[in-house]
């Protein structure tokens, strides 16, 4: 340990420029790694926050998302009568029949038409989603053309601020409240009364029903009851599972892309680290010979140089993480192709991701420094001492 801290780590500082450039190369790779995975994490977090463990979403049998599902008007009272559904203070079932359509509104970043999700909800929708809080205005009044808008939506699309009149479905609707929901996908949506939205969009019936179960463990009996009823062609899912499935295609795409880019970039950075360490070994051949002559074993030398390389890479990795940090919380958006609607989300850097970046940097340092370290140990002592 003494050799490493006294000799190797301090040797890094002797050739500052070279060390800095190598660390710089590794820093860039780690920064790209962290930033692209932060996108994937952010998207996933938004969709997962949308699902509550106590809620279930009921869709048509075989429907892959709300937008291609259908729940008939007649199904609603049958579902609401099921005992597994929680009830509110007045004994009414905590269930909300819903319908999602898409309206085109200009995006504030590039003015292109964006697919904004408009969700018609039942009166008890707000009681169902416990992480929903109003930051401006108030909840909409059922039976009126009042609408509520998620905060991320007001930032991303034009014309949705408090008090605005929004025209769609051949009517005009007024924004009376803005809500947040822990960055869930609902924050990218516009909410209105479902029974007024149906005729406005020439629809007849709902697409889904979200229910709050009296207890999360009741899901299985709820599912059996719904699927066993011959009058219903419906299938319930846990809300969390539904949203996890929805986020999977996009998250996978981003992660694969990010990993591909980073892997290739890392080979280049490792080549750079290898270069640096070979040069370091060549530069210090005489010193290594001296150490060997003094009695330091080959293994000590190898591990010492390996640690030097890993330490240098770790510094680069830390710098890369710091470089990537500013993107945390940055708002962006993409289209969730399962639902064809635009989802606004934020870059999300987690401690696990940063740790991953650091470990990745150290692996690059270890792989890049291995061969040079082995070479350092293999130089015959007598020859090493003769080098100038």
């Amino acid at each position: 340990m003494g050799l490493i801290s006294n000799y190797n780590l301090r040797s890094m500082l002797v050739r500052k420029a070279t060390a800095a450039m190598t660390a710089g190369g590794i820093a860039m790779v780690v920064a790209v790694f962290v930033m692209t995975l932060a996108i994937a994490q952010g998207f996933r977090a938004t969709l997962v926050a949308s699902g509550s463990p106590q809620n279930a979403i009921v869709l048509r049998k075989g429907a892959t998302s709300e937008t291609v599902s259908a729940v008939l008007r007649g199904d609603v009272p049958i579902l609401e009568s099921l005992p597994q559904i929680a009830r509110d203070g007045d004994g009414r079932p905590l269930a909300s029949p819903e319908l999602v359509v898409i309206i085109a509104l200009p995006r504030s970043t590039d003015n292109q038409p964006a697919n904004v999700p408009v969700r018609g909800v039942g009166p008890r929708a707000f009681a169902l989603r416990t992480n929903l809080k109003f930051v401006e205005g108030r909840p909409l009044t059922p039976g009126t053309r009042e609408i509520n808008v998620g905060r991320l939506a007001t930032g991303r699309f034009k014309g949705l601020s408090l008090g605005s009149d929004v025209k769609f479905g051949s009517n005009t609707w007024k924004v009376v409240g803005i809500f947040t929901a822990d960055d869930a996908s609902f924050e990218s949506e516009v909410w209105g009364d479902v029974d007024l939205m149906q005729p406005a969009f020439q629809r007849n019936g709902y697409q889904s029903m979200t229910v709050k179960l009296a207890d999360p463990s009741m899901f299985d009996s709820f599912k059996a009851a719904v699927e066993g009823d011959p009058r219903l062609m419906l299938e319930p899912q846990r809300e969390q599972d539904y949203y996890a499935d929805q986020s999977r295609p996009v998250t996978t795409l981003i992660s694969v892309f990010g990993t591909f880019v980073t892997l290739i970039l890392s080979i280049g950075a490792m080549a750079g680290a290898m270069n640096t360490m070979y040069a370091a070994v060549a530069y210090r051949t005489r010193e290594i010979g001296t150490l060997r002559a003094l009695g330091f074993g080959r293994l000590r030398i190898v591990s010492a140089f390996l640690v030097e390389s890993v330490a240098l890479a770790a510094i680069g990795g830390a710098a890369g993480c710091i470089l990537a940090l500013p993107v945390h919380g940055l708002s962006t958006g993409t289209t969730n192709f399962s639902s064809f609607s635009e989802v606004a989300f934020k870059f999300r850097i987690t401690p696990a991701l940063l740790a991953g970046g650091l470990v990745f940097a150290m692996v690059m340092g270890a792989v890049g420094g291995l061969l040079p370290a082995l070479r350092a140990a293999r130089i015959p002592v007598a020859r090493a001492l003769r080098e100038i």
């Binding site: 450039m21 085109a104 292109q112 270069n275």
Partner: protein
């Protein structure tokens, strides 16, 4: 040029270092060319759009349909030369993982309005004659191993098309003469979907041909005016705008891919610059001797700079060759809704240019330092 031998000798001095530098530049150029190819793949369709076709959709959003009776009103607008329509079907083949674009078209007029769709005369007439026939893009056919005559079954995705599965017979496999039409889609007869639809006579979007591009704004305005204040208001725009709105759905691709490309370049500059600096430091004594012998500073500068440039360009060539081989539709999994990606000549040229820039920039500082080296200091230094 007489010093070329000297430059090559210097590069071969440390084969390993030269090789490692070439590898990192090659990878950087490979990545850069790939990122550009991906961006091109997404934007190609919009860029190749026809300037004499305009698209009409519901003003509310694309997911709402319009009655096909709108066609008559549109045809009566002055400046309209031809008309067709299509419906997004969204059928599911096997499961979500195998999904691809499939839509119902008004067959005769659609094929007439999209001359980019290339079909043999036999396949064309076979398709037009068979109401349950369909045509498949050649890339999609290749992905699924389909031939003319195969049967394809799609499950209904969008509830408005009913509940029974749809069976099709492949009557033709089409190629495309332009990026405006991709070959990963399937098209079939609108009537077949209409007869089973819960609401009849609906069109997803109308495509209108106008006489000349400068009439676009006027004709588009006239079409929308016909349906203003009706329950089926429309929004008409150029084919390019329509295609661009799909690209923008992915997010700000330009910014994302551009930032990554920038990071790639900066990282490589660090690595390549480091190598040149190390190489020069090793040769301090030699450079000093050369200066003593009378080599002017400018020559020393050129020697180092050319060495850096050479290594980078070799790396660049390796990188573009790799990119050309690896990044093309036959090797890469594409399909579904991700556009085909391939590296074209322009990307190759930009890639090589990039490697030259990396070489020049990375060699700049070491070359300048070498040229300005004080002979006395240099000779005093021991290795």
């Amino acid at each position: 040029m007489k010093y070329l031998a000297l430059v090559l000798k210097s590069a071969r001095r440390s084969k390993r270092r030269t090789a490692l530098t070439i590898v990192s530049v090659a990878l950087a150029v490979f990545l850069f060319a790939t990122l550009r190819a991906v961006l091109d793949g997404f934007t190609a369709g919009a860029a190749a759009s026809s300037s004499t076709r305009i698209i009409t959709i519901r003003s509310t959003s694309l997911i709402f349909s319009m009655p096909t009776s709108h066609a008559d009103a549109i045809r009566s607008v002055p400046g309209v030369r031809d008309l067709t329509w299509a419906n997004w079907f969204g059928g599911i083949y096997k499961d979500q993982a195998h999904s691809f674009a499939n839509f119902a078209i008004e067959p005769e007029s659609y094929l007439r309005m999209y001359p980019e769709i290339l079909l043999s005369a036999d396949e064309r007439s076979a398709f037009l004659a068979d109401r349950t026939g369909c045509i498949i893009g050649e890339s999609l056919a290749r992905t699924n191993g389909w031939k003319v005559g195969d049967r394809v079954t799609l499950k209904v995705g969008i509830p408005t098309y009913g509940t029974r599965d749809y069976d099709f017979t492949i009557r033709g496999i089409y190629r495309s003469s332009s990026s405006a039409v991709d070959t990963q889609s399937m098209m079939f007869h609108w009537k077949y979907a209409d007869e089973r639809s819960l609401v009849k006579g609906q069109a997803g979007w109308f495509i209108t041909r106008i006489a000349s591009p400068d009439q676009e704004a006027q004709v588009a305005g006239a079409i929308d005016a016909k349906f203003a204040n009706s329950p089926y208001e429309t929004k008409t725009d150029t084919e390019k705008a329509f295609a661009s709105s799909f690209i923008s759905m992915f997010g700000n691709l330009n910014l994302l891919l551009g930032s990554i490309a920038l990071a790639v370049v900066v990282a490589t500059l660090f690595v390549a610059g480091n190598t040149m600096a190390m190489s020069v430091r090793e040769r301090t004594t030699e450079i000093a001797v050369m200066r003593t012998l009378g080599f002017p500073g400018g020559t020393i500068f050129s020697l180092i700079a050319i060495e850096a440039l050479l290594m980078s360009i070799v790396g660049g060539v390796v990188g573009v060759v790799l990119a050309r081989i690896a990044i093309n539709p036959r090797v890469l999994p594409s399909g579904g809704f991700i556009p085909e990606v391939s590296v074209d000549t322009q990307n190759i040229v930009v890639g090589l240019g990039l490697s030259a820039v990396i070489g020049a920039v990375s060699g700049l500082i070491p070359a300048t330092l070498a040229a300005r080296l004080k002979i006395v200091d240099a000779l005093r230094r021991v290795a």
